[in-house]
């Protein structure tokens, strides 16, 4: 039996391995790229002369404050929405009457739905091996227990 997690990079072709290596290296550059504005903002907050050019290029501190205000309001609204929905769901669950389960589907209902012979179906439901034959439209035309 194969292990649950299949981590076998050595099975890749040479091209795939080279590509994977290059992408792994390039991945660090992507991380730096995405985190660069945060780092430059941190530097600028620590010392406002340092990195001020980068902060301006990213849109400036005032723009950032304005955007963060909108962002926090939106996040709070989403959180509030979830809380209201949860409260409504809990209340609804408490008030809802419990429905009775439907009776299990018997072989008679199944044979009617699938258009097969009831007796034959019962035999097939007990069989260890069954062959099923179809017509061109996908309707069952034969059940063959072995």
């Amino acid at each position: 039996m194969t292990e649950l997690v299949i981590n076998a990079p050595h099975l890749q072709t040479h091209g795939q391995r080279f590509g994977a290596g290059a992408l792994a290296l390039f991945g660090w550059m992507l991380w730096c790229y995405f985190l660069f504005p945060l780092v430059s903002l941190g530097c600028w907050l620590w010392n406002d002369e340092l990195c001020s050019q980068w902060v301006n290029m990213a849109g400036g501190y005032l723009n950032l404050r304005e955007m963060l205000a909108v962002y926090l309001h939106a996040v709070a609204a989403i959180g509030g929405g979830w809380c209201i929905w949860l409260a409504y769901g809990t209340l609804r669950g408490l008030l809802r009457r419990r429905l009775a389960p439907l009776p299990p589907v018997g072989s008679a209902a199944l044979s009617q739905r699938f258009g097969v012979d009831h007796d034959q179906l019962q035999v097939c439901q007990e069989s260890r091996f069954v062959a099923v034959h179809y017509d061109s439209r996908g309707a069952i035309v034969g059940l063959e227990p072995v």
Partner: protein
């Protein structure tokens, strides 16, 4: 004004005299003039209307939607998943050690539809035999395989009394195989897995507890875990199934409606399936379709993260493209098929799910449009400051930080299920590629998939789609 009716020739007769011909020509000239005047008026009105449209505001709205929609949805999913985790998931305890004790253990049939699964089916069946559930049978449905799947199944059935084999003489597709399985089992509860998936030994009790708790529960979907982690695509998918699939399912479970069960691992109540007519054989994704059919008919669906199922996924771009294209087309087909039913008041809880899916499709098309416009403007805008153009602005930073935060939260929530396989924290590094590799792929497949769904012939039968299953190609039959 000329009164044309005064000189009209007798109806439906050709003019016989020169006067009548003149009358006809006058009439034609008058009509032409009238049409010209009318259209020039209309065209002028249209022109005015076009100029009155606030194009800039529309452009801002579209770019705002492109940017803020994924951002807002990331927080919707993230908060929903955190709440689900805190309120329900964390209390359930450990998957392996805190197995639910059920009041009763009704018999369960595990349906395994398979088509050309000779490489995997032995492993799948033998893994199923480890189930920590007292009363189950395995029904393997061989759907007209061309390889030796049937021979392997027959040998396994001789070996293991829990295994039954259903053989479809001709290839019918997964939905038809599942229908045959449902027909040929007596049990009310069906657990359906794919022929190449390994179902966790604890999965059935975790799923069955929901059915015993709620008589109007139609289905429970499990938690697919990726096995193939050799390539970059495989590694990203590990994160994707946690960060996107798992997170969305948790949030949707908290909301109360799911977009879809996972076709690779889902349990069903047969009476629910019977009431909605079982799986449709003309939808490319039978799992999305059955989820909608059940929920539109008043049945609930739940997500059970403890029901683990280990699956093989494509590790090549071609395989990934085909898989995602199928998913996108399936989602679009469902939207188109059930758009009328969704509008009914009793189906109102499906409205947000429907709108979200619709918004995703619109977003993908707008994204393609925006990328095209951006590329053109970048190509011709030579006056721009090149360096500042490459610095991600605050909005870009916000988007990337949100993305990284979403991955971190979801991997943290999901890590408990991978403690025995070495954890998933290390896949965080690879998730940096997700926005590039998968977003681009998913946008493209959504655009193409929707087009395919719209242009698909009505009633066309769905067929099996064989995808690559990772770089490990060795035979796992054990025969």
């Amino acid at each position: 004004m000329i009164d044309h009716t005064a000189v009209l020739p007798p109806a439906r007769k050709l003019p016989a005299t020169a006067d009548e011909w003149h009358a006809w020509l006058d009439l034609l000239a008058g009509l032409t003039e009238a049409v010209r005047l009318k259209t020039s008026f209309l065209w002028g009105g249209l022109e005015d209307l076009i100029w009155q449209i606030p194009w800039l505001a529309i452009g801002d709205g579209i770019s705002g939607f492109i940017f803020y929609y994924p951002l807002a949805m990331a927080y919707v999913w993230m908060m929903g998943a955190i709440l689900y985790h805190v309120l329900w998931e964390r209390r359930d305890g450990d998957t392996f050690d805190d197995l639910p004790k059920l009041a009763e253990y009704p018999p369960v049939s595990i349906l395994v539809p398979c088509h050309n699964e000779a490489e995997n089916i032995r492993e799948t069946i033998e893994y199923l035999l480890r189930q920590r559930y007292p009363d189950f049978e395995i029904v393997a449905i061989n759907d007209g395989s061309r390889d030796n799947t049937l021979a392997i199944l027959k040998r396994l059935a001789e070996q293991y009394p829990q295994l039954r084999v259903v053989h479809l003489e001709s290839n019918q597709g997964k939905a038809m195989a599942l229908r045959a399985g449902a027909l040929l089992t007596r049990n009310e509860f069906l657990v359906c897995i794919d022929g190449d998936a390994l179902l966790g030994a604890e999965a059935i009790p975790w799923m069955m507890r929901h059915f015993l708790d709620n008589p109007r529960l139609g289905a429970v979907t499990g938690n697919p875990r990726i096995r193939t982690r050799s390539t970059l695509l495989g590694k990203i998918q590990v994160g994707e199934f946690s960060a996107i699939v798992g997170m969305i399912k948790r949030a949707q479970r908290l909301y109360g409606r799911l977009f879809t069960v996972s076709g690779v691992i889902a349990a069903f109540r047969k009476s629910a399936l019977h009431s909605v007519g079982y799986w449709s054989n003309d939808m490319v994704t039978e799992d999305i379709d059955i989820s909608w059919k059940l929920q539109l008919n008043g049945w609930s669906i739940r997500f059970e993260p403890h029901a683990l199922c280990w699956v093989l996924m494509p590790e090549t771009l071609k395989g990934l493209w085909r898989q995602r294209l199928r998913w996108s087309q399936g989602g679009a087909e469902v939207l188109l098929r059930y758009s009328r039913e969704v509008l009914r008041w009793p189906a109102r809880r499906m409205w947000p799910i429907y709108l979200e899916c619709l918004a995703s499709i619109v977003w993908s098309y707008l994204m393609v449009l925006a990328l095209a416009i951006w590329s053109i403007s970048e190509a011709f805008d030579l006056q721009r400051d090149v360096i500042s153009g490459f610095i991600p602005g605050w909005t870009g930073t916000l988007l990337s930080v949100t993305c990284l935060l979403q991955f971190a939260v979801s991997l943290a929530i999901d890590s408990r299920y991978e403690e025995k396989t070495g954890g998933i924290g290390r896949y965080y590094y690879w998730m940096i590629w997700y926005p590039l590799v998968y977003w681009i792929n998913n946008v493209a497949t959504t655009v193409v998939g929707f087009f395919k769904a719209v242009s698909k012939e009505q009633g066309q039968r769905a067929v099996w789609v064989t995808l690559d299953r990772g770089v490990l190609k060795r035979d796992r039959t054990g025969d």
